[in-house]
């Protein structure tokens, strides 16, 4: 080993704690990068493979009832490749030992189906016997939520009749990767499940023998879906078709796509921030560390080492640190990514998870790590080697200090000598001070981003479930009913207040843009559902016209005053022109609202209701639920508190998993910046401080001079970090804008407090380490050697 190589290893050992801090900063940056991008790539890959292997259909449509003979005509439509007809029915389930309402959907399984579409993936057991009406296969996530195994039993209320079903299999379906109940905003696997039964017995129970009420199909390559949808709609209109839609509008696919799109945003924003901050810090730290070797560099140059040799030497030192950091980061990122992908895979049911770590992700992470490290080295060595060696070995010219701004303002008299030293030192090296400050500010900012998502979610919940949806229970009628149904419910003991609503599936059109949604008809003086305006204040619904969620209005490109075409997708399917009269704000989903009587008028019907919201005495909720469940006219009942609880649970697992990782890594970065700044400051000013000790300053006094600067920089960096953090939060909020949910820009005091605390605590810890190092200053050395 050459002497320079030995120097390298010994230097590395001497600066091991600093090197570790730098490596960890790099590791944090790389880990975040790898975590998000590998998770994203894995989920995309997994989904594609799943769709391919299980032959996920491309076009879907539900209808009231059509004879099986129509299937052949669908198959003959131009552009249609394969057709699958099914019987699909809503069901209420009764599960022993579970008192909350459980809704389900039963899908038929046809052993004669030749299409091969939407194949189930059998996880456990077997598929139901085609001849038996008491066997069912259930979705895996639902099975897990209740601990069901093949052989277990559950009771289903099928078309008003209680049927005892035996679970024979646990399955996965590409149609229900994201399993979510109708009208729910988020999955709740205990309270909604999908079941499969043999077609014949199911069809018998629903009077669908020789008929179907659901179609899935695939397209011939190159045929535009739009044409097929239109032909399909006109073919199924006489049979009560609900409007065909392609994958884009298929609930599971759409939700998953939205989530993946958001993850792609996270996977771009977070890693880019982290990796840039890490690269930036690495660059600063390295260039300052190398600068402290100014004298040795000059000596080596005096002996005839050329610049390249010196850059090679320090470059190797830096690369060792950066590469070990990057490797730790790759490993950590892959491990975390694998775990995060598993968390996601538990929401979206995939048969298997294909965890992939794309080569370009690894290569980019390594290149950024190496690049920033090398740039820092080149910069510092270049600067140190630029001056003639004689100058490098000479003590630096006494640096030019100036009176600081405070002193110029005449406030200098208020400051003791050490405080003046701090201010002048910072003023003399504004670039260095700014870099340290920027690093600290970014650490603060990143931590705010993590915390922000948490408070934004709580704010969403409060807005949606406390200020807007104020009922305790939502009841959905199987068929529209008159308001007489309300009196019956109101008379149930424990029911405090009842409000009916009308809701109808529509397609909204404006110019070339269209959107499938529900129009909710609401009582104008209602209490249980508030339509919030864009300032989040309750607004009264205008007697005519449509109110749209602001996001939906943007999607459709309309402003109040514009007229929309409303194509009703139920019943007589009327098409009407309706003006947009106001906007509403909500963070979950998008909606269209009308006054209920206006909606009834639009549908040319009388006083009809689709369901009701109930306010129920908390002690009577279970009883009321049981009473309602028994009625065949009621398709489903949902309890608000369970919706909130399941929502929180879902959110907690996904978003909070990665924000907690992000926060932890941000804390590492904060600590890394502060620690390295302190150690470098000590290296740069050790002699000066030792001289002061010789002159009789106490350890406390010199610690004040050294750490006072760092403390002051930290304090200044915090408000700067707040500003950057707020900007990042605003950017993320603007990126997390989808039909499913919008993240409100709510940055709470606690977010600021948390971010500032982590940075301050890091600073204090570092101050302590430096304080102990100050005790080891060699006072004699100062007297012996120059400067």
């Amino acid at each position: 080993m050459s002497p320079l190589q030995r120097k390298l290893w010994r230097d590395l050992w001497t600066m091991r704690s600093q090197a570790l801090a730098i490596a960890l900063v790099m590791a944090s940056g790389v880990a975040t990068f790898v975590l998000f991008l590998s998770t994203y790539a894995s989920l995309m890959e997994t989904r594609e493979r799943y769709y391919r292997e299980q032959a996920f259909a491309e076009v879907f449509v539900s209808l009231k009832r059509a004879p099986q003979s129509l299937a052949a005509r669908i198959g003959e439509l131009p552009g249609v490749a394969r057709v699958q007809t099914r019987v699909v029915a809503p069901v209420t389930l009764d599960i022993k030992g579970f008192s909350d309402p459980v809704r389900g959907r039963i899908v038929s399984l046809d052993e004669h189906d030749a299409s091969g579409l939407n194949r189930l993936y059998l996880r456990e057991g077997r598929l139901p016997d085609p001849a038996r009406g008491d066997e069912t296969a259930i979705s895996e996530i639902f099975a897990l939520a209740h601990g069901f195994r093949p052989g277990d039993r559950l009771t289903a209320i099928i078309n008003g009749r209680r049927e005892e079903l035996r679970i024979v299999g646990v399955v996965l379906s590409p149609e229900y990767i994201y399993e979510i109940g109708p009208g729910a905003f988020f999955p709740d696997h205990q309270r909604f499940g999908v079941l499969w039964m043999a077609r014949k017995p199911l069809a018998n129970a629903y009077d669908m023998d020789g008929a179907f009420n659901d179609v899935a199909l695939t397209l011939r390559p190159g045929s535009p879906p739009r044409d097929v949808l239109e032909r399909l709609d006109s073919l199924l209109r006489p049979h009560g078709g609900w409007g065909a839609y392609d994958r884009h509008d298929q609930l599971s696919h759409r939700l998953l796509s939205e989530e993946l799109r958001q993850m792609q945003t996270s996977a771009t924003v977070f890693p880019v921030i982290f990796l840039s901050v890490a690269a930036f810090l690495l660059n600063v730290v390295i260039s300052r560390t190398v600068s402290t070797e100014r004298e040795i560099i000059a000596t080596l140059r005096a002996f005839g080492y050329d610049r390249l040799a010196i850059i090679r030497h320090y470059g190797a030192l830096v690369l060792l640190i950066a590469v070990s950091g990057a490797l730790i980061g790759l490993g950590l990122g892959a491990w975390l990514g694998h775990n995060l992908a598993k968390v996601y895979a538990s929401f979206y049911r995939f048969p298997h998870l294909d965890f992939i770590l794309p080569a370009w992700v690894m290569a980019t992470a390594l290149l950024v790590a190496l690049g920033s490290a090398l740039a820092g080295t080149l910069h510092a060595v270049g600067r140190a080697a630029a001056q003639p060696p004689a100058q490098g070995m000479r003590p630096e010219a006494p640096p030019l200090y100036r009176q600081s701004l405070l002193e110029k303002l005449g406030l200098g008299r208020l400051l003791a000598q050490p405080s003046r030293m701090i201010l002048r030192h910072m003023g003399r090296r504004p670039v260095k001070s700014t870099l340290t400050l920027t690093g600290l500010a970014f650490a603060t900012a990143i931590m705010m981003v993590g915390h922000f998502q948490e408070s934004a979610i709580l704010f969403m919940i409060d807005t949606q479930f406390v200020r807007s949806e104020r009922g305790d229970m939502t009841v959905q009628f199987a068929e529209a009913q008159s308001s007489r149904a309300l009196h019956e419910m109101a008379s149930l003991p424990g029911v405090l207040h009842v409000e009916g609503f009308r809701s109808v599936a529509v397609r909204l059109r404006h110019g070339a843009r269209e959107y499938r949604t529900l129009i909710q008809g609401i009582e104008p003086d209602g209490e249980l559902r508030q339509v919030l305006d864009t300032r989040l204040q309750a607004q009264e619904l205008p007697p005519q016209g449509l109110v749209l969620t602001d996001h939906l209005a943007r999607v459709l490109g309309v402003v109040p005053g514009d007229v929309l075409t409303v194509e009703v997708l139920e019943g007589a399917r009327p098409v009407r022109e309706v003006p947009l009269v106001a906007l509403n704000a909500q963070y979950l989903g998008v909606s269209a609202y009308m006054e209920r009587s206006a909606l009834n008028q639009l549908l040319k019907e009388g006083d009809r209701l689709s369901g009701a919201w109930l306010s129920v005495d908390p002690t009577a909720q279970q009883w009321v639920y049981d009473a309602l469940k028994a009625r065949p006219a009621i398709a489903g009942t949902a309890m608000r508190k369970t919706e909130i609880a399941s929502f929180l649970d879902t959110m907690a697992q996904t978003i909070l998993y990665f924000t907690s990782i992000a926060t932890l890594l941000a804390a590492v970065i904060a600590f890394g910046v502060v620690y390295n700044s302190a150690r470098i400051a000590l290296a740069e000013r050790g002699r000066e401080l030792a001289s002061l000790r010789v002159l009789g300053f106490t350890r406390g006094e010199i610690a004040y001079i050294l750490l006072g600067e760092l403390g002051l920089l930290t304090l200044i960096s915090i408000p700067v970090g707040f500003a950057i953090g707020y900007g990042l939060c605003a950017y993320l909020a603007s990126q997390f804008t989808t039909d499913l949910y919008r993240i409100p820009l709510v940055v709470e005091t606690s977010t600021y407090a948390f971010a500032a605390s982590v940075v301050l605590v890091s600073t204090l810890l570092c101050a302590f380490v430096v304080w102990r190092k100050l005790a080891q200053l060699d006072l004699i050395a100062v007297l012996k050697t120059r400067e």
Binding site: T299, L300, A302, F303, D306, A390, R786
Partner: protein, 241 residues
């Protein structure tokens, strides 16, 4: 003038050399027009008070610093016109340096500090031999922090001579040392000069050291005051201060 001047080989030829430093906001005129010739194998002492410009002159001779104007010829090659790469090569192959504060690399042992230079030299002596020449054969594996000031300076000399340089430039080599330690260091330099024939230029502000030189160049305020020749060149052991 020495009669032998005519046959002596010229190593350095300096003409009209000036140097101006910016120091913070002021300019320091370190050299104000130096004319000087150094010959092969001689031991020259540059004597002057602090700030007389002697270190600046030495640094420019050694290619550690650049001149503001004037010309420095090393064996006919113009150093003032040399670029960075040529200066590096000049230092690497021709010059050995000894500094007042040793400038050893603290993380390397005595042997390794010497090896740093022998590794990149053309025909060096071994680090062990170089250290033996300065009387440190028994301190090979000591780190700088484990050596006294005099020992550290002798390591620095070993490092400077190990590459068999044509020129040895020493900037106040005894400046940080007491008299008896200083004598040992000077003895080592004198031995090298005599045994290897290395042209040696030695800076000092200590007039007592001048007696070991072939020639003494007196510098004052950036100019050469006079050039004297001791009556007899004395061995370092005869010196004291």
């Amino acid at each position: 003038m020495m009669p032998s001047d005519a046959i002596q080989e010229t190593v350095f030829e300096v003409r009209g050399l000036t140097k101006v430093y910016p120091m913070g906001e002021v300019e320091v005129q370190a050299l104000r027009g130096i004319d000087l010739t150094l010959y092969r194998g001689e031991l020259v002492v540059l004597l002057g008070a602090s700030g007389s410009g002697k270190s600046t002159l030495l640094n420019i001779l050694g290619g550690l610093d650049t001149a503001s104007s004037g010309q420095v010829l090393y064996r006919g090659r113009d150093l003032t016109q040399a670029n960075e790469r040529e200066l590096t090569s000049f230092r690497r192959h021709e010059v050995g340096f000894v500094f007042q504060f040793y400038n050893l690399i603290p993380s390397l042992t005595a042997r390794e500090n010497v090896a740093v230079v022998t590794e990149i030299a053309d025909a060096p002596m071994s680090p062990e031999e170089a250290l033996a020449r300065v009387g440190l054969a028994d301190r090979l594996d000591h780190f700088p922090a484990q050596l006294s000031g005099g020992q550290q300076q002798r390591v620095a000399i070993a490092r400077a001579i190990a590459k068999n340089p044509a020129v040895l430039l020493c900037d106040e080599p005894t400046g940080a040392l007491d008299s008896s330690t200083g004598v040992r260091v000077l003895q080592a330099l004198s031995d090298v000069n005599r045994e290897l024939g290395t042209t040696t230029a030695l800076i000092t502000h200590n007039a007592a050291i001048a007696d070991m030189a072939d020639r003494v160049i007196h510098l004052h305020d950036g100019r050469i005051g006079e050039i004297t020749r001791p009556v007899t060149r004395r061995a370092p052991s005869e010196l004291s201060w």
